[in-house]
Structures are given as structure tokens and as C-alpha cells.
């Protein structure tokens, strides 16, 4: 079996004095879509932020594309091919939609061109001169994802893309992720909505109290529903 | 302001026995000092020490950085000088005039400054005090660049001749101690506790229902009045009031004194004032300009010595030992 694109071992992380991650182990293989499931506050977002490097107080190992990422400064992780879409989306209000879209520099070949992106997201093209935050929540989520797609990133870290969005938009996002999967994108997704996740993910990790407590393939999902209902308190 | 400022945490607690002893020793030392050191120098230190402690009330305990405190200090110097020289008031009333004037200025500047928060507030104090500077430059009663000279010290309570250096010294010392006592009482009162909570987390204080603006304004006026007390005293000590006293450089100096001594400590600014005044005296005779040295000290302090002398003391092992003793 080839080495996973992303391999995390015994990842511990701290916010100041507070110990937030207690040893996360996970793998994401090229082309896979892996989802981290778990209740609020268990460390899913912290895990993503630790992997991309926003949280600096970390220990353990993070290997991406064969390279050790722990010592890489934050502004270099993108150059290695990691793209990050935060929970709050982070659309800049002082930039237009198009400026937002073209802000992250292209770091590798294989990213979508602006034309391709506008084809996938026609309403972004319509609004491209508007200030970024004048878009609806769903459109902002599309924009936040689209700008990473332009860069040629190999791994997409997506934090709660469907949070707070209407079912129709959620469906649209699911379609977008399917398109990305077809193009071979590797995705690490954090989601509380596991019904959504079950439609796009290949594998799942369940996180609790800063550790991975379970992992399974999507095929095993039906058998896990009772356990998940308990663990996620949904 | 947030708690990222290196303010020495000051919890309300009764004085340790050790601290009480140290304070008594300090007061005794101050009482004996004029027999060993030049009284004018000592009085200068006491005036600036009071000025710095007044400033610290606003910065270290309420969390407001005023970059225009010279307006209160120098303004009171002018008011007192004028009252004593032109109106013939006795020194105690002259000082009262200075304090009242400074408090009034504090009310106006404070009211405008607290319309904004944080760094904006500081800029406002700077600009308004500069406005006052220009007013002093042009107003007839200040005599512009010459300042008010030959201010008579007069007779305290009608019979104590303040022209005598020792009498003047003990007058200044008493006023200084009274001012420090007042500050200490305020800091440890419920009012002072609320001020500190505003410094720690203003939004939380607001959500707790405190009328934060009123507390801030009150602190401003108090700080201005006490700075005015120091300024009025200074006018009598040196017997003149000049534009230097209301300049922004003076505002900067008091910040430096407090920073060097320890923001948020009760006695820190006293040591800061002593150090800065001594340095000023030392460099007055040397070729090196004082502003160059002051500027460098400022930069170094901000980079590596933010807690100030007394702050470092409390944070050091000696200080921690004292804390532990207190908890026993």
C-alpha cells in the first residue's frame, strides 16, 4: 500500500496551558475523502488547525507528501500543497469577490483556472465585483472553497462546510465535493452533520476528548448508526 | 486595554508585616534625607514621584494610557504660580487653586478621551493636551516663553515661612505622603476594585452593569487632580512655571517614570521618578542630550524590562517568597 498523502501520529496540541489534543492518529490517502466526526469541542477544528500549522504548540508527527511538517512555518504549508477552508470561512470584507478568489497564490499546477471556477460556481461570476461579505452564507462557503481550488493544493482541509446553511445549499456543496473527488482531490473534512458526510466520505474517524476513538469505512456506516447516535449526541 | 500589559497583579490584601516595616523605614528615610541630600533635589523627586503615582492611578489601575498628563501637572503649576504671585494667596490656597484647575482640565479632557477606547483614547489625550500647550503659549497670564517667574513661596498657614528649605521640604513631604495615602485608599476601596476590573476586562465590567464611563471619568479627574497637586507643589518648590511643564515631552517623561518603576505597583513610580530625575540631573552637565538617553532607555525598557523595577521585584523569587508568606 502506498504511503498516505497525510499521515498524523500522536499529535498533541496546546492552547497556551490548555492541552487540547491528546494524541491524534490518522491517515488520508491520495484521492480519499476522510471525515472527522465528533461533538462540539472535542478537538476536530483544533486538529485541522494543528495540521495546517496555525497552532504552533504541537508535538508528534505530521507527514505530508513525504515531508515532515511540524517545523514548517505557517506561511510555507500552503506551498507544500495544503489548502485550508476555516469554519468561519474568512471572506474578506474589504476585497471584492474576484479579489477574494484570486488572493491565494497558485502554488502548483493542476488547480482550476478562473474560467473553470466560474463555470462550477456561476453565481460567483455574477457577483464578482461585489464586496466579498455581501454574499449569502452559502455563496461565501462556495467562495472560500473555490479560492483554494485555484491554487493547485493537493489536500483540502474543510472545517464544517455545511454549518448554518439551508438544505438546498448543503446539497449543492455535496455536489461540488463530488466533482472535486472525481478530479482526484484529497479531502479531510470535519463535520457534525454525518448524514451529509456519509454521502461524500470514504472513511470516518470519530474524535472524542482530543483523541481518535474509532475509525471505519463508509461501507460499515449502517452498522455504526446506534454507536454514532450516542457518541455524537445527535 | 487587555491583560497583555505587564501589570503586576495586585490583589487586595492587607499590608504584609514586612511591607509595613519597609514603608515605615522609607518614611523615616525621607524624613532624615534633607540632612544628607540637597533638599531641592529631594523635593523635585517627591513632586515627580507624586505626579507619576497619580498617572499610574489611571494607567496601572484603570488601564487608560494618557499621553497628555503634562497638561494637568504644568497647568496646575501655572494656576498656582499665578494665584500666589498675582492674587497674593497663601501657599495652601494657591495649591488648592492648582488642584481645582487641574481637576477641571481632567474633567474636560477625560470626558472627551473616554469617548473612544484603547489607543484612540490615548491619541485624544495627546492632542487635547497639545491644544492646552498652545493655549499656554499664547495666553497672557503665562507670559509665554518666559513663564511665570519669582513665584513667592509665602507663609504656610500664615506663619510657617516656606522660604526656609527645611520647612518647605517637610511641607512637600507631608503633601506627598497625604497624596500617597489617598491613592492607597482609593486603590483598595470598592471603587478601586471596580477600576481594576475595568482594566482587566472592560466589556465584562459593562456586562456586569457598571457605568464604566462614570468610573473612568472619575479616575481621570482624580488622577488629574493629584497630578495637579504635584504640579502646584513644584511651582512653589522651584518658584517658577514654564512651558516645559506642559509639553508633550513632560507627558512622555511621566510615562517613562511609571514604566521604569513598575506599572500597576503602588510604589514603583516613586522609584521610577527618583531614577529618571537623577539621570536628568546627571546628564544635564554632560554633552549627551537627555532626549537621546531617555529615548534609548524607553526602547530598551519596552523590549526587555516591561515590568519595571518594582514589578520585577515582585515577580522575582524574593517577591514570590513574600506572597507565599502572606498566604500562610
Amino acid at each position: 500500500m502506498t504511503e498516505p498523502l497525510l499521515s498524523v501520529r500522536d499529535l498533541n496540541a496546546w492552547y497556551g496551558e490548555s492541552h487540547a489534543l491528546h494524541g491524534i492518529d490518522l491517515d488520508v490517502h491520495q484521492g480519499e475523502t476522510v471525515t472527522l466526526l465528533g461533538r462540539n469541542g472535542v478537538g476536530k477544528t483544533t486538529a485541522l488547525r494543528s495540521i495546517v500549522g496555525i497552532i504552533r504548540k504541537r508535538s508528534g508527527s505530521i507527514r505530508f507528501d513525504g515531508k515532515d511538517m511540524l517545523r514548517v512555518p505557517l506561511h510555507r504549508t500552503a506551498r507544500h500543497g495544503i489548502g485550508y477552508v476555516p469554519e468561519e470561512r474568512g471572506i474578506f470584507s474589504t476585497l471584492t469577490v474576484e479579489e477574494n478568489l484570486t488572493l491565494p497564490p497558485v502554488i502548483a499546477k493542476g488547480g482550476m483556472t478562473l474560467a473553470e471556477i466560474y463555470q462550477l460556481f456561476p453565481n460567483l461570476e455574477e457577483r464578482r465585483k461585489s464586496p466579498g461579505t455581501k454574499l449569502s452564507g452559502g455563496e461565501q462557503q462556495m467562495l472560500a472553497m473555490a479560492r483554494i481550488l485555484r491554487t493547485g493544493a493537493k489536500l483540502l482541509l474543510l472545517d464544517e462546510p455545511t454549518e448554518g446553511l439551508a438544505p438546498v445549499i448543503i446539497q449543492r456543496i455535496g455536489e461540488v465535493l463530488q466533482t472535486l473527488k472525481q478530479r482526484g482531490m484529497t479531502i479531510l473534512l470535519v463535520e457534525q452533520n454525518f448524514r451529509f458526510a456519509s454521502k461524500v466520505a470514504d472513511r470516518f474517524y470519530v474524535v472524542d476528548h482530543g483523541k481518535v476513538i474509532d475509525s471505519f469505512d463508509v461501507a460499515d456506516l449502517p452498522g455504526r448508526m446506534t454507536m454514532l447516535n450516542e457518541a455524537l449526541g445527535v | 486595554m487587555n491583560s497583555q500589559v505587564n501589570v503586576t497583579p495586585t490583589t487586595k490584601r492587607p499590608l504584609l508585616r514586612l511591607e509595613t516595616v519597609l514603608i515605615l523605614i522609607g518614611v523615616a528615610a525621607l524624613a532624615l534625607a534633607p540632612f544628607y541630600f540637597y533638599p531641592i533635589f529631594l523635593m523635585k523627586v517627591l513632586c515627580f514621584a507624586l505626579f507619576a503615582c497619580a498617572f499610574n492611578l489611571l494607567l496601572g489601575y484603570t488601564g487608560i494610557l494618557s499621553f497628555g498628563h503634562a497638561a494637568f501637572f504644568g497647568g496646575a503649576a501655572y494656576f498656582t504660580a499665578h494665584a500666589v504671585k498675582e492674587w497674593g494667596l497663601p501657599p495652601e490656597l494657591g495649591i488648592l487653586v492648582g488642584v481645582a484647575g487641574a481637576a477641571f482640565l481632567g474633567l474636560i479632557i477625560g470626558f472627551l478621551a473616554i469617548r473612544r477606547q484603547g489607543i484612540y483614547s490615548t491619541m485624544i489625550t495627546l492632542a487635547l493636551s497639545q491644544m492646552f500647550f498652545f493655549f499656554c503659549l499664547q495666553a497672557p497670564f503665562t507670559h509665554g516663553e518666559d513663564g511665570i517667574q519669582n513665584v513667592p513661596r509665602g507663609h504656610l498657614l500664615g506663619f510657617i515661612d516656606l522660604q526656609e528649605p527645611l520647612y518647605m521640604y517637610f511641607f512637600v513631604l507631608s503633601v506627598f505622603l497625604a497624596g500617597m495615602l489617598l491613592i492607597w485608599r482609593v486603590i483598595n476601596s470598592p471603587y478601586g476594585m471596580i477600576l481594576r476590573s475595568i482594566r482587566e476586562n472592560e466589556n465584562r465590567a459593562i456586562s456586569l452593569g457598571y457605568s464604566v464611563s462614570r468610573y473612568k471619568l472619575g479616575a481621570f479627574v482624580m488622577s488629574a487632580a493629584l497630578a495637579g497637586l504635584a504640579g502646584g507643589l513644584k511651582a512653589l518648590v522651584f518658584q517658577f512655571a514654564t512651558l516645559t511643564d506642559v509639553s508633550w515631552q513632560m507627558s512622555g517623561e511621566v510615562v517613562l517614570m511609571t514604566l521604569l518603576g513598575g506599572i500597576g505597583t503602588l510604589v514603583g513610580p516613586i522609584f521610577g521618578a527618583a531614577l529618571v530625575t537623577s539621570l536628568g540631573n546627571y546628564f544635564a552637565t554632560s554633552e549627551l542630550p537627555v532626549t537621546l538617553v531617555t529615548g534609548i532607555i524607553f526602547m530598551v525598557c519596552v523590549l526587555v524590562f516591561r515590568r519595571g523595577m518594582i514589578g520585577e521585584l515582585y515577580a522575582s523569587r524574593l517577591g514570590k517568597k513574600l506572597e507565599r508568606r502572606a498566604e500562610d
Binding site: G53, I54, L74, H75, R76, T77, A78, R79, G90, F92, S93, T94, L95, E99, T102, L103, P104, P105, T151 | M1, N2, V5, L65, F67, L112, R115, R116, G118, I119, Y120, T122, M123, I124, L126, A127, L128, Q130, M131, F134, F135, Q138, W248, Q249, G252, L259, E287, L288, P289, T291, L292, T294, G295, I296, I297, F298, M299, C301, V302, L303, R306
Partner: protein
């Protein structure tokens, strides 16, 4: 002789011109301050000193290397910008995650030290700097005499302000700056070296101050005190214009310069405080400033 409100028209226009020139400097300096404040969230007290050093750089380039006005116009800002960028890198950047009061105090100390150093070497009085011969003389417009250099200053400052505004609002680099102002961490995840961007911004702001100093040299004397007298007025301009707003800084700078000039005609005693009075009024009526965003 024609008069306007009982003032001879020559005097009126003369003061208006002086006001416009002062306004040009207020605009350029508050522009630099607003850029630095917007990105770094620090009040650059050393801005006045950087202005002063720009002028001195021009003076020294001429006095020691014989380099004249036009090359100095490019060299002086670069010198000031580079030195300031170094200071930012080595010292100032360590203070960003602390309370803003420390960076204010640091730049204040820097201003004092720089002013003190120059005063030590050059004394408090000014050194003269000649108007370049291409810009000597003036135009006789009939109702007033317009010195060429003054006109040049106003024109140059307009160009500089507009160019800066375009750089920030319309270019890619400007987009990076604007985004980094809003959310520096996220911008770093995109692969942009935000700390370097901050250094560049501080250097650029300082260079703008240095350029203003270079323009000022032939008008005001080159003196170590020229910055400190100016800087507090510029602070007031920035407060009135809205502290993060570049357009606000530019417009307010010109407006207040002209207003100051007009005040000098009709009520000269108030001319140095009129800006502060307006600032006080603005604070009562609209604390965010003319174009400020946060309140």
C-alpha cells in the same frame, strides 16, 4: 485693491496657498500613519522623526556627496524606509502580540532618541536647503504670485496620495495588505509571508514620511525639531479622518490645512488650535471620524 471679507485678496490667497501647502504635508504624513496603523495597528510616533530624517538625508546627500534634489527625492525615502524596516524587523515586530501601548511607547522612545541624536550633531536651529533651480522663481498670476516650488509640492503630494490610494485599493499587493489587515492568520495559510508584508508596510509608511521630508526641505528649514512640531497635528488629522481610513486621512489633511490657513486670515490667534478644536467636535459628534469604520 480688492478685498474679500475686508481682507486684501493677496493676503487671503497667500494664506490659502500656505494652507494648501501645509495641507499637502498633513495629507502625506497622515496617509503614512494611516497605512501603518491600518496594517500594524500601531501608532507610529516616530513618523515625525522619519520625516525629519528624510529631510536630513537630502541635506546630507547634498552636503557630503554632492547629490542634488532630484536623485535625493528617490534616495532619501529609500534610506529612511530601509532603516525603518530593519528596526521593525529587529525590535518592533516583537511587540505586536502585546498591548498596543508598548508599540506606542517604543516608537515614542525611538522618536526621542532620533531627535536627540540629530540635535546633538546639528543643534536645534535649521540648516538651509536650496530650492532646485528648475523650480526656482514663480508665476505672476496677476492677483497673486505663485512660487513654482510651492506649486510643485502641492502637485507632487496629490500624485503621491493618489498613487498610494491606487496601490492599496486597486493592486494585487494592495489586496494582500487589505486582507492581511482583516485576518493575518488566514492570509498566512494561503502561503503569503505576512510578517514580511508588515515589515514592508512599515518601511513604506516611513518612506512616505521621508519623501514628505524631502519635499519639505526647501520650504521649511532642515531642523531636528521639524518633525516633533508636526506629528501631533498629524495625529489630530488622523483622528478626524478616521484612523484606519486612507482616503479619510488624505481628504482631512488637505481640508484641515486649508482651514488652518483661513483661520490665520480671520482669527490668527486660533490658527494653531483650530485642528484640535475640530478634533474635539468630531469626537463629540462622530467618534469614528469622517471615514472611520470601527467605533
Amino acid at each position: 485693491m480688492t478685498t474679500i471679507f475686508d481682507v486684501p485678496i493677496q493676503a487671503f490667497l497667500g494664506q490659502l496657498l500656505i494652507g494648501l501647502i501645509n495641507g499637502s504635508f498633513y495629507a502625506m504624513l497622515s496617509l503614512g500613519l494611516a497605512i501603518i496603523f491600518g496594517m500594524l495597528k500601531i501608532i507610529n510616533f516616530a513618523h515625525g522623526a522619519q520625516y525629519m530624517i528624510g529631510a536630513f538625508a537630502g541635506y546630507l546627500l547634498l552636503a557630503t556627496l554632492g547629490i542634488g534634489y532630484w536623485p535625493a527625492l528617490i534616495l532619501a525615502p529609500i534610506i529612511v524606509g530601509l532603516c525603518s524596516a530593519v528596526i521593525e524587523r529587529l525590535a518592533l515586530s516583537r511587540l505586536y502580540n502585546l498591548d498596543h501601548l508598548y508599540s506606542l511607547l517604543f516608537t515614542f522612545g525611538l522618536a526621542l532618541a532620533l531627535e536627540g541624536a540629530f540635535r546633538y550633531f546639528y543643534g536645534s536651529s535649521g540648516q538651509p536647503y536650496a530650492v532646485p533651480k528648475e523650480l526656482a522663481g514663480g508665476y505672476n498670476l496677476g492677483f497673486m504670485f505663485l512660487p513654482k516650488y510651492r506649486a510643485w509640492v502641492v502637485l507632487a503630494s496629490l500624485v503621491i496620495c493618489i498613487a498610494s490610494w491606487l496601490l492599496i485599493e486597486k493592486t494585487k499587493l494592495g489586496a494582500y495588505l487589505r486582507a492581511a489587515t482583516e485576518n493575518p492568520t488566514l492570509v498566512r495559510t494561503f502561503g503569503i509571508n505576512v510578517p514580511l508584508l508588515l515589515t514592508f508596510t512599515y518601511g513604506m509608511g516611513a518612506a512616505l514620511a521621508g519623501l514628505a521630508g524631502m519635499l519639505a526641505a526647501p520650504i521649511y528649514q532642515v531642523s531636528p525639531l521639524m518633525g516633533s512640531n508636526l506629528i501631533i497635528v498629524v495625529f489630530a488629522v488622523v483622528v478626524v479622518g478616521g484612523m484606519g481610513s486612507i482616503l479619510g486621512a488624505i481628504i482631512t489633511g488637505y481640508m484641515l490645512g486649508i482651514l488652518e490657513g483661513l483661520t490665520k486670515v480671520f482669527y490668527p490667534e486660533a490658527s494653531n488650535i483650530v485642528i484640535f478644536v475640530i478634533m474635539a467636535i468630531m469626537l463629540l459628534v462622530r467618534p469614528a471620524g469622517l471615514m472611520g469604520r470601527d467605533a
